[in-house]
C-alpha cells in the first residue's frame, strides 16, 4: 500500500477540521473497548499473564529460525503447502499462480492486517477476481474505498448515520434503517459470496510450531466460513506470529481476547491443521505463505526488535489519547496508534515514517494496556533519538530541546522564564508550530499561577 506517514501532522489536523464527527465516533468506541479491557484484566492476574506471554514470545523470537523450520515441517506433514515471501512482489507471485491454476473468479477475505500490507485486494482486482471483505466492518470500508482505521475495529470511525447513508445509496435501504436491518443486508450479500467463491483468504493470529496449527480469532463467524466453504484457502502469516506449543494457546487466546475486546475468549476460534480429509467437508487445498516484509530487519535491530512480540490486539490504540482524536487514517499506514508509531518505522524505515514517533504524549497508557508488555514509550524515544541523529527532526526541535534543557537545569532561569512567558499574550494562529493544534481546538490559556507555586501549595 502507499505509505503516507510523512503527512501525519497535516492529515491529523485536516481530519479534525473536515470530519469532526470522527473524533466522537473513535473516542466513544475506544473508551468502550478500553473499559472492557480494564474490567477483563481485573478478573485475572493480568500482570502474571502479561509477563508469561512476553517471555513465551521472547523465547519464540530468540529461536525463530528453529520454530519456523518446525512449523513448516508440521504443516507439510498435514498436507499444507508452505510458501515463503520476502516482499509483496513474491507474495503476489504466489497468489497469482494459485488464482490462475484454480481458475478463481471470486474470493472471500477475512480481515487481516498483513494482507493490507501486501496489497492483496488491488492485486486480485487487477487479476479480474471479485474480492469480498467478509468482516462486517471491513466490508463497510471496502464499499467506501477506505483503508481500515483500527486494527480490530476497522470501521470504528463511522457513525451509524454514515452507514445508513452508504447502504441507502448502495442497496436502497431506508435512511433510518436499524443496525439489525443493515447487518441483514450485508449478511445476504456475503452469504451468497461464501457459497460461490472458489478462494478464501485469511491472515492468522498465531501459527503453532509444535502442531502446525493456524489459529484465527473472530466474533462474527466469517473467518470460519471463509476457511471452510471455498475449495482453496490461502493464509498469509507474518513470520513473527508463531507460538512454540499448542497449550500456549491456553494463555494467548484469552489474553488477546481480554486485551482486544474485554472478552474471556473470542466467539469463534479456528484451529486449522490442513485440508479436509477424505469424506470431510472443507477446502481441498490449504496454503500458508510465510511473509517477511521488513520483519527480519526489525529482528536484527537490537533496540527495536521487541515490537515483534505484538499480537495486533489494538489495546494500545484504545488506550491512546492521541489516537482517540483522529482514528487511524492520518497515520498513513496499515498500523496506526502507538504500535504503528513504533512498528511502521521498523518495517518501512524512519525516512518514510518520520513524524510517527512524535504522535504520542508518552503518557504510558499503551504500555499498561499491552498484553505482551511492549515498552512502547521507550521505543518512541528510541525512534525520536534516531530521528535527531539522522537529521530528520526539524532544526527548531534540536535548538528548542537544547534551550529547554539549559533553562530546566537552572532554578533561577526557570523562574525567570516561567514568569516572563506567562505574562506574554499567547499567539493563537500565527505561530507556525502551534497552528495544527490551535486550528482544531479552543484558544490556549496560561495557568493563573506558575507550576512551581502550584506544586508548593500542593505539597503544603
Amino acid at each position: 500500500m502507499r505509505v503516507k506517514a510523512k503527512l501525519y501532522p497535516k492529515e491529523a489536523a485536516r481530519l479534525l477540521r473536515e470530519k469532526p464527527g470522527v473524533r466522537d465516533a473513535v473516542t466513544g468506541a475506544t473508551l468502550h473497548f478500553e473499559a472492557g479491557r480494564k474490567k477483563a484484566y481485573q478478573e485475572v492476574d493480568a500482570e502474571a499473564w502479561r509477563e508469561r506471554a512476553k517471555r513465551v514470545k521472547d523465547h519464540l523470537l530468540t529461536h525463530l529460525d528453529q520454530y519456523l523450520e518446525l512449523a513448516e515441517k508440521r504443516l507439510q506433514e498435514k498436507g499444507v503447502q508452505v510458501h515463503w515471501a520476502e516482499d509483496p512482489e513474491e507474495a503476489h507471485r504466489i497468489l497469482r499462480e494459485i488464482v490462475a491454476r484454480r481458475g478463481v473468479r471470486r474470493a472471500v477475505k477475512a480481515k487481516s492486517m498483513l494482507t493490507e500490507e501486501l496489497g492483496v485486494n488491488p492485486l486480485l482486482e487487477a487479476l479480474g477476481v471479485e474480492v469480498y471483505e467478509t468482516d462486517l466492518g471491513e466490508y463497510l470500508i471496502q464499499l467506501l474505498g477506505e483503508p481500515p482505521s483500527h486494527i480490530v475495529g476497522p470501521a470504528i470511525h463511522l457513525a451509524l448515520s454514515d452507514i445508513q447513508r452508504l447502504f441507502h445509496s448502495r442497496f436502497g435501504t431506508p435512511l433510518d434503517a436499524s443496525p439489525e436491518a443493515l447487518a441483514a443486508v450485508a449478511r445476504r450479500v456475503l452469504r451468497e459470496a461464501f457459497l460461490t467463491a472458489e478462494l478464501g483468504i485469511s491472515g492468522a493470529n498465531f501459527l503453532v510450531a509444535e502442531t502446525g496449527t493456524l489459529v484465527l480469532m473472530e466474533n462474527e463467524g466469517n473467518i470460519r466460513l471463509a476457511t471452510s466453504l471455498p475449495k482453496v484457502h490461502v493464509a498469509f502469516v507474518g513470520i513473527e506470529k508463531l507460538l512454540p506449543r499448542l497449550h500456549d494457546l491456553a494463555l494467548f487466546l484469552p489474553l488477546t481476547a481480554r486485551a482486544a475486546t474485554g472478552q474471556r475468549l473470542s466467539t469463534y476460534v479456528s484451529l486449522i491443521q490442513g485440508p479436509a480429509k477424505e469424506g470431510e467437508e472443507g477446502p481441498e487445498e490449504v496454503h500458508v505463505v510465510l511473509v517477511d516484509h521488513g520483519r527480519t530487519a526489525l529482528l536484527h535491530d537490537p533496540e527495536a526488535w521487541e515490537v515483534l512480540r505484538c499480537l495486533r490486539c489494538g489495546a494500545c490504540l484504545n488506550a491512546c489519547p492521541v489516537y482517540r482524536q483522529t482514528g487511524g487514517h492520518p497515520y498513513g499506514y496499515v498500523y496506526s496508534g502507538p504500535i504503528g508509531a513504533v512498528l511502521d518505522p521498523g518495517l518501512l524505515g524512519l525516512e518514510d515514517t518520520h513524524p510517527l514517533p512524535y504522535a504520542s504524549t508518552l503518557c504510558g497508557a499503551c504500555y499498561e494496556a499491552c498484553p505482551v508488555k511492549i515498552p512502547i514509550p521507550k521505543l518512541l524515544l528510541t525512534w525520536r533519538r534516531r530521528a535527531v541523529e539522522q537529521g530528520l527532526a526539524q532544526g527548531w526541535e534540536r535548538a528548542a530541546i537544547q534551550a529547554f534543557s539549559k533553562v530546566m537545569q537552572s532554578p533561577s532561569l526557570y523562574r525567570l522564564f516561567s514568569k516572563g512567558l506567562r505574562g506574554l499574550p499567547l499567539p493563537q494562529d500565527w505561530l507556525p508550530l502551534l497552528r495544527a493544534w490551535t486550528e482544531g481546538r479552543g484558544p490556549l490559556k496560561p495557568s493563573p499561577k506558575p507550576f512551581h507555586q502550584l506544586w508548593q501549595e500542593l505539597k503544603e
Binding site: A155, L251, R264
Partner: protein, 189 residues
C-alpha cells in the same frame, strides 16, 4: 525455496549475538467448582443457552426447538435417536445440530470438529450442540494438554455470532448462528 533460505539465514544472522530467552511453563490452578455448572454459567454470560440434561430432557429440548420447522442439518456424530426432524442441507436448514468433541468450562466454549461436518455448525441460524458431561474440561489448558490428535479444523464456539461494527450496536447472527444452545448430556452415549 530461495526466499526461504534467504529469510532463515537473515534470522540466524540477527540472532547470533542475542541471549536466548527461556520458555516458561504455565501454572495449572485446580478448579474448585463443578465444571459442568461453570460451563452453563459462562455460556449464559456469553449470550448462549446451556442445559444439563438426561436423554429424556434432550429429547424434550429438541422437540421444543423443532416446533414448526421443516427439518434440520446434522453433524455426523449426532445419534440417530436424536434426529427428530427430517434432514435438510445446511444452506436451507433453520436448525443445525452438532456433537462437540469437548467443552471448556472457564470460557464457556464448545469445540467442534471438522469430522462432524462444518456446514451444520455455521450456516443455520440456530445451532444446537450436544456434548457429553465427561468431555467438559475445567480449563483451556487441560483441554489442550489432553488433545491426542487434531482434526483438519477445530472450531471453538463460545456464543452466538455477533458484531458491533455498525455504529457500535451489538447485532447477533451476522454470519454464523444468532442463537447457540448447548446440551450437556448426562451419562454415556
Amino acid at each position: 525455496m530461495e526466499a526461504e533460505s534467504r529469510i532463515l539465514s537473515r534470522i540466524k544472522h540477527a540472532l547470533k549475538e542475542r541471549p536466548k530467552a527461556l520458555l516458561p511453563e504455565h501454572p495449572h490452578p485446580a478448579l474448585s467448582q463443578d465444571p459442568r455448572e461453570l460451563l452453563l454459567k459462562r455460556l449464559a454470560e456469553n449470550g448462549a443457552e446451556g442445559h444439563l440434561l438426561d436423554e429424556e430432557g434432550v429429547k424434550r429440548l429438541l422437540a421444543n426447538l423443532a416446533q414448526g420447522l421443516p427439518g434440520a442439518a446434522y453433524g455426523k456424530g449426532v445419534p440417530a435417536a436424536l434426529r427428530l426432524l427430517p434432514e435438510l442441507p445446511p444452506e436451507e436448514a433453520p436448525l443445525g445440530v452438532s456433537r462437540a468433541l469437548f467443552a471448556v468450562a472457564e470460557t464457556g466454549t464448545v469445540a467442534l470438529s471438522s469430522e462432524d461436518g462444518r456446514r451444520a455448525q455455521l450456516l443455520p441460524p440456530v445451532h444446537l450442540v450436544l456434548v457429553e458431561e465427561k468431555r467438559v474440561y475445567p480449563s483451556l489448558l487441560e483441554a489442550f494438554l489432553d488433545l491426542k490428535s487434531l482434526p483438519s479444523a477445530l472450531g471453538l464456539h463460545s456464543g452466538p455470532s455477533k458484531s458491533a461494527d455498525i455504529g457500535q450496536v451489538m447485532v447477533k447472527g451476522v454470519h454464523g448462528p444468532g442463537r447457540l444452545v448447548v446440551a450437556v448430556l448426562q451419562g454415556t452415549w
